[in-house]
């Protein structure tokens, strides 16, 4: 019995060491390479620290969406990518994601993903050729997504709603 308990103690210590090593190993790349993906407190913080000049932010927000973003994640290396998550004023869940990813990369935030696309159509958005997708997210919640090229990036706006509000938000991001 004593041997079994001692074995369990050694095993627990080994696991604690393993978890610590994993945490350190996860932290290290951010130290080794500046500009790795991490969370930022504000959009201005992203602009100043990552020196991303053309960061597109909407000027229109429906009342159902809380401003400022609940989470901002960005990287400048190996390519520029910025993700902004916004929560619903009613439920507190993430219901809007705006991403701006360099054409060199492809990175998705699966927090809002369309599990079924019912309609896919080209949509003219202030002179840009945007792609509008309308469908359903998990639990049959209506979702819509619009994406277009802007300079050297692709901007994608995904929302848990019908396209009506989504198009207004996307429209307000462009001049």
């Amino acid at each position: 019995m004593y041997k079994k308990v001692l074995g369990l103690f050694y095993f627990a210590v080994a696991l604690a060491i393993l978890i610590s090593v994993l945490k350190i190993t996860n932290w290290l790349p951010g130290v080794l390479q500046e500009g790795a993906m991490k969370k930022y407190s504000s959009i201005d913080d992203v602009r100043s620290k990552l020196k991303i000049k053309d960061l597109h932010v909407p000027s229109y927000f429906p009342q159902s969406v809380v401003w400022p973003p609940s989470s901002i994640m960005a990287q400048s290396r190996p390519y520029e990518a910025v993700f902004m998550e916004f929560t619903s004023a009613r439920t507190g869940d993430v219901n809007l994601i705006i991403s701006q990813v360099s054409d060199r990369g492809s990175i998705n935030d699966s927090k809002i993903s369309l599990v079924q696309v019912k309609e896919k159509t080209a949509y003219p958005l202030k002179g840009r050729n945007a792609l509008l997708e309308v469908g359903l997210c998990k639990n049959d919640i209506p979702c819509s997504r619009i994406s277009w090229h802007e300079g050297t990036s692709t901007i994608t706006v995904t929302m848990r709603s019908t396209p009506f509000e989504l198009l207004k938000i996307a429209d307000s991001m462009l001049y």
Binding site: A36, R77, N108
Partner: protein
């Protein structure tokens, strides 16, 4: 598609996470075996199975359980995200993801040339030798050795060769092959122990579970951790067959003496040999083989053969820990 983008795709995430999950599983299993001093080869093999099978299904199961596990916010707050390393660029030029791809590619080549091709060749040779209906050579020593072995007896073919050869084939007609060089140097007890060891291999190779494990191992052909763990499993398999042979013959020393014969050509780990890069692999392989043989001989001579029991709680605890930790490894 750039290499870095590949690891953001579903296939890329599967490959990268299968590697991470197997590495963590291997570390946890190793610590569990050490902490609880698990010496039964059968139980150790079961622990190794976790390392081989778990990464095959872990990623899809986790994703079904929680689709948001792949989201950026989950990745940023989690215990370990391999993409943080794969996105690094050494001196701003060489992506770590490229080095990772090279490691996977080399592992695939090692699997192909050291495991897959030899198995295919062996299967073809076995079928050829079976179809030729090779006659079983009567030998008084072989007859005496088989006489007191319990259960179904395989046919024993003696190969006319002075080298020490001992192997078996399963197929329709299970056969144990021994070389004349080996038979001449053995007494009845030793030959009986050798045949009993091969009978154990024949019996275990017929089990569908082992075949299924091998097929799953093939699916993880690119994974270096699985490559190492599978070899460890094969070594444990030899010890399991040693244990079965001892249970059939009750002659551990006789089996140890045969292993010593196979080990008598043992070469020291020659540092000069290591200097020749081309022979480095061969030297390491010989060394590892000899260490494994020595280990088996010591087990048999010390009578260190234990019956397993009560290890399932440790096994389940280890599995639960692996499932829990790897959920936070993306």
């Amino acid at each position: 598609m750039s290499i870095s983008n590949f690891f953001n795709s579903s296939v890329g995430m599967y490959v990268a996470q299968a590697f991470s999950h197997s590495l963590i599983a291997a570390l946890v299993v190793d610590r569990a075996i050490q902490a609880w001093r698990i010496s039964s080869p059968l139980m150790r093999q079961r622990f190794s199975l976790i390392v081989i099978l778990f990464p095959l299904v872990s990623f899809p199961i986790y994703q079904i359980m929680d689709p948001e596990r792949g989201s950026l916010s989950f990745r940023l707050d989690t215990l370990f995200d391999i993409n943080r390393w794969l996105n690094l660029e050494i001196w701003g030029l060489v992506p770590v993801s490229l080095l990772f791809i090279i490691v996977l590619f080399v592992t695939s080549l090692v699997f192909l040339f050291q495991e897959m091709i030899p198995i295919i060749k062996h299967t073809i040779e076995t079928r050829t030798s079976n179809s030729a209906e090779e006659a079983c050579i009567e030998h008084s020593l072989v007859s005496r050795a088989l006489e007191s072995l319990p259960g179904e007896k395989p046919s024993v073919s003696i190969l006319n060769d002075d080298e020490l050869i001992l192997f078996s084939t399963t197929g329709k007609r299970p056969t144990v092959f021994v070389s004349s060089g080996l038979v001449e140097g053995l007494d009845t007890d030793q030959l009986q122990a050798a045949i009993a060891h091969e009978i154990a291999h024949i019996a275990r190779n017929r089990r569908p579970l082992l075949v299924a494990v091998f097929i799953m191992r093939i699916l993880m052909f690119y994974n270096p951790v699985v490559l190492v763990e599978f070899r460890r499993m094969v070594q444990e398999e030899e010890k399991i067959c040693d244990d079965i042979a001892v249970s059939l013959t009750s002659k551990p020393r006789a089996l140890a003496q045969i292993l010593r014969k196979f080990n008598h050509r043992k070469e020291e780990f020659d540092i000069d040999r290591m200097k020749e890069i081309l022979k480095l692999g061969e030297a390491l392989e010989d060394y590892s083989h000899n260490v494994h043989l020595e280990n088996r001989i010591r087990r048999l001579e010390e009578g260190n053969i234990q019956k397993i029991g009560g290890e399932w709680i440790k096994f389940l605890l280890t599995l639960i820990v692996i499932i829990f930790i790897n959920y936070f490894v993306v």
